[in-house]
Subunit: 144 residues, 2 copies
Amino acid sequence: MNIGTAAERSGLPAKTIRYYEEIGLLKPDRTDNGYRDYSVADLHKLRFLQRSRSLGFSVEECRQLLSLYDDKDRESADVKAIAQAKLAEIDRKLAELAGLRDMLRHLVANCHGDDRPDCPIIDGLSGEAAFVTGGGCHGKEERP
Amino acid sequence: MNIGTAAERSGLPAKTIRYYEEIGLLKPDRTDNGYRDYSVADLHKLRFLQRSRSLGFSVEECRQLLSLYDDKDRESADVKAIAQAKLAEIDRKLAELAGLRDMLRHLVANCHGDDRPDCPIIDGLSGEAAFVTGGGCHGKEERP
DNA sequence: TGTAGTGCTTCCAGTCGCTGGAAGGTCAAG
DNA sequence: CTTGACCTTCCAGCGACTGGAAGCACTACA
């Protein structure tokens, strides 16, 4: 398939797809007229790139993960180690994202613009403390 | 607190923190000697920036979310609309991330380098299809 | 009271990951 | 056989940092 179709189906702009080729993330065939020709496997890689890039993985990380996809010897220890590390990172990201969601939900639901200190949202924003139930926002901020 | 401490506690490099100030994401006080002086609220914002940037939100999105944090009139409709939109996006990201995790897990656990077609991992990579149980990898790829 | 060392400041240059635009070739429809 | 959509390469620019130089500030220790 042509780059336009691949772009549409992967959710990536054609420009970006060409860039990914330039930096060696995938190598589509070319038809006789010089057009890039994407296989279904290429499309899967592109979709994967779209996903993982939008979730904050770097291009180099994506390259490693793609090598996992390509690697004919996926049983090798180092490749498995990469996958395990990424799994841990994904779990971390999942927790952070869930925290972000809870904080935003709380922000929308519970904050009424009053002036009480010890605002639970401030704790929520930091991503460190458990939520304190109730309470308003915009508390005076101490400067330690 | 000084920028070094803020960097350590937020997980952001000092360089990045200065950059965020330059583009107007936060405005720490200055002590008499010209050093930046970060409040606890500043630190929370920095932690929030660290989290949301690493999860794939753009700086402009972060700016909007921070305005939610700063806004004294958080009840206004547009601010709430921003929060709702972000909530939806976070839910989408959560689903994608979970999909990515499942795919990686599957890749590590079930792929033994054989040559069977219809590889479930390929479907998993694309993020579209449900996993087919069993099956190996490295299937022949058709070019449509 | 020096002075070494660490940390802060600004500024400027460079990198990564795209993104837009120009100039031109290809292809299907009318 | 022209129109218009789509493809090509190339080059420039932007967003988001990142590294390094030059210099001021603070702390510690002889």
